[in-house]
Amino acid sequence: MTQSLTQPALSGHKGMARTILLRSHIWLFLLAACVFFSVVSPYFLTVNNLANVLTQSAFIGILAIGMTLVMINGEIDLSVGATLALACALAIGLHNGGASAPVAIAAALLAGTAMGLLNGSLVALSGMHSFVVTLGALIGIRGLVFVYTGGNALLVNDFEYTEIPEVYLGQISLTAMIFFALVLFFQWFLTSTRHGREAYAVGDNVEAARDAGIRVGRHKLINFTLCGFLAALSGVLLSMRLGTAEPQAGRSWELWAIIAVVLGGTRLKGGYGDMWRTLGGVLALAVVQNGLRLLNTPNYVELIVMGLVLLLALGLDRIMLLGTRKGE
């Protein structure tokens, strides 16, 4: 036996606990933000407001779930905001045109899934980087939305359509519940299914994954398709909540989704991350935005503050990372 081979490997419960603490910076940040806004605003820590934050966070949150899958693969999807707008417009447009709500919704979801499939196929077959592919898709799909809506907002004729998500569990809206259910499902998907765990292998060391017989192209295609589907789902939920479909809906939301994922600690270059982190990132963004609005921060100042907050949160991650390195 050799010396270094017989030293106990770095693990064990103590190490685990520390790792969890060090790796969950976003929850500490979220906690701090909640405490701060509870102190400075009397309206923040109310059931009503918090329930509202959850509902508002769900739309970008659902985009972020799909983004997490793609980013664990080491890819990125910039087209989710446009896909959301497309699904939103299709759901309302088709429903106004006479299709029943379920048919219109199914068609919208299908369209988003198809966009995801297209992105995935292009990435898998062409070997182009997903940044380029989905940047093209962002512009193209947004163009489709403008063509379909004629550049105008579509208003839903049937007001019952907007009643569909008006289901509550206590104060929690259906939209928020769907978001949480998806977080739970996809977290399980990532940890307990073969495809989910292979996502890490693909993002971590693509050569090793390929050599081990994982069909990398097909694998990524599935994740892009899921990402497209989730973007469409978010679009459909938005169409119900707003009752209108703006051609500019979801503009730059792909960036907020990416920010939420990165804020959670999922690695941009892949191989590392999970849905709990993404949930933390999404909630942190939503809480800060909500808190700033409660304080009547002017819109443009809000953006500046949000930018600073992002840097702060990521800085916190960096400090903690250094902490772990030192520990190791």
């Binding site: 036996m1 050799t2 010396q3 270094s4 081979l5 017989t6 030293q7 106990p8 490997a9 770095l10 693990s11 307990s192 299914t193 073969r194 495809h195 765990r197 292979e198 890490y200 292998a201 971590d204 060391n205 050569e207 090793a208 994954a209 390929r210 050599d211 081990a212 017989g213 994982i214 191989g271 590392y272 190791e328």
Partner: protein, 509 residues
């Protein structure tokens, strides 16, 4: 059955655009033997290995596996036939667990794609136990040492019941004790009739563990011999086509003034109380096992790391610890251990790599003088005999020896005073090695101070005027002249380990 041929290739050729990598090569592996594959870098070893492992398909010839002709198109097909390659740069996913890495690509499920983690971990646990590994199947691979990662790759070969295992320079980053452990595992595989292909530059390993040796040169088979019938001289002649006069050249001793003196340099957790000096024209060897802190000392002198304590004297005057920029301006240069990560920008050409630290010298008002850059490139290509197609050829595509020459050219073009070479010949073929050793001697004779860090004992003994041994973050021996022997160095390094507890006691008191 032992001695039976498991895998053989007959008359295999492989061409790449402009390069004939393999020409009509035949090679075979028998059950229960260790078959060494030797040759200089670029001789075709890697290509041959990749043909066997299904990463390349040959252009001509045939592959026979257990008596039938086969076509191995992918690594997966190779694995299904029991042929596994243990990569030099290990092919593991650091974020996945040990078990997940071992069975990557064929994880057990409970149906519907749901992972059967219990089976995955228990299967992996069995394999790890059989190999005598001390880490758990659930451990994240990223937290393991290189030696343990290698064990994970070997476990993978075990798990798939490999009948042929190909090791590509497996000892390149192992300490001596880890190497012994690896050799005992190889012996174990051998006893279970696994055929082993062993690629290495290190002669002593070849003679220690292999049964037969096949040598390639320029893609052409030079012959297969029984190790027992071979000598270092015959193998060297086969590899380079001529006999090397001597592997090492030591510079004539003609020392000048002191260039660098270090007093009491320390960095918490890495090294402590480092004191030494080096003079013009002197080659100072720094010997120690991997992990002793040698590279960290070098990086601290060059300013990549910050020292916690200590004083630094440059040509007799005290200076603060430099930043890399200040070190370069002083003429204190470091050729780091990992050429590809730290020494070179592998995506750039040789010319750009040479001038990168000295862009100020090659530009006016921020505009580069391409012509002067090319002149310097051409000068070093000739004097250092660098094999490259031109100034813009990506250095990432060059062999290790040629890459190292570019690292040296980078520092030499700005008149260095002290050159620190960290493992200057790691992964470099025999021919280029002796060129680099000769160059070290020549530079020292021209008055440069050189520090050579190496874990290859013959190298340190061959090129140095004086040797410091290092172990567990501290210097523990200094040898010159007659005292520079293998026995003394080994003794120094191991003596320290035994007495380290008493040393700690002293420090406490």
């Amino acid at each position: 059955m032992a001695g039976e041929t498991i895998l053989s290739i007959e008359g295999v050729s492989k061409n790449f655009p402009g390069v004939r990598a393999l020409k009509d090569v035949s090679f075979d592996v028998r059950a229960g033997e260790v078959h060494a594959l030797m040759g200089e870098n670029g001789a075709g070893k890697s290509t041959l290995m990749k043909v066997l492992a299904g990463l390349y398909r040959p252009d001509g010839g045939r592959i026979m596996h257990k008596g039938e002709e086969v076509d191995i198109r992918t690594p997966l097909e190779a694995r299904d036939r029991g042929i596994l390659l243990i990569h030099q740069e290990l092919s593991l996913s650091p974020e996945l667990s040990v078990a997940e890495n071992i069975f990557l690509g064929s994880w057990p499920t409970k149906g519907l794609g749901i992972l059967n983690k219990r089976k995955l971990n228990s299967d992996a646990g069995r394999v790890l136990d059989a190999l005598g590994c001390d880490f758990r199947p659930t451990t994240r691979v990223g937290t393991l040492s290189i030696a343990r990662k290698q064990m994970v790759e070997i476990a993978r070969a075990q798990a798939f019941n490999a009948s042929v295992v190909i090791f590509d320079e497996p000892t390149a980053s192992l300490t001596d004790t880890e190497k012994e452990k690896l050799f005992s595992i190889i012996a174990d595989l051998k006893a279970r009739n696994v055929g082993i292909v062993y690629i290495s530059h290190k002669m002593n390993e070849i003679f220690e563990i292999t049964d037969r040796v096949t040598v390639l040169r320029d893609g052409v088979l030079q012959g297969t011999v029984n190790t027992a019938d071979a000598t270092v001289e015959t193998l060297t002649r086969m590899m380079i086509g001529r006999a090397l006069d001597s592997f090492f050249t030591r510079a004539r001793s003609n020392f000048g003034a002191e260039v660098l003196r270090v007093e009491g340099m320390a960095k918490k957790g890495l090294f402590e109380n480092i004191s030494f000096s080096v003079r013009e024209g002197e080659v100072l060897g720094l010997y120690g096992l991997i992990g002793a802190g040698r590279s960290e000392v070098a990086e601290t002198l060059f300013g990549v790391r910050r020292a916690d304590a200590g004083r630094l004297f440059w040509k007799g005057g005290e200076i603060p610890f430099p930043t890399p920029r200040q070190a370069i301006d002083l003429g204190l240069c470091l050729a780091p251990e990992s050429r590809k990560e730290q020494g070179l920008v592998i995506g750039m050409g040789g010319r750009e790599n040479i001038t990168l630290p000295h862009l100020g010298l090659f530009s006016r008002l921020g505009i580069m003088n391409r012509e002067r850059e090319t002149q310097v490139f051409t000068r070093y290509r000739e004097t250092l005999e660098i094999k490259t197609t031109g100034p813009s050829q990506r250095v990432g595509n060059l062999s290790g020896g040629n890459q190292q020459k570019f690292v040296l050219a980078k520092w030499l073009c700005n008149k260095p005073r002290l050159l620190i070479l960290d493992e200057p010949t790691r992964g470099i073929d025999v021919g280029s090695k002796s060129v680099i050793h000769a160059l070290i001697a020549k530079l020292a004779e021209e008055g440069l101070a050189v520090i050579v860090i190496s874990s290859e004992m013959p190298e340190v003994l061959g090129v140095s005027h004086r040797i410091l041994t290092m172990s567990e973050g501290a210097f523990n021996g200094e040898f010159t002249g007659e005292a520079m022997t293998e026995e003394n160095l080994i003794d120094a390094v191991s003596r320290h380990r035994e007495s380290s507890s008493s040393r700690r006691a002293r420090t406490a008191a």
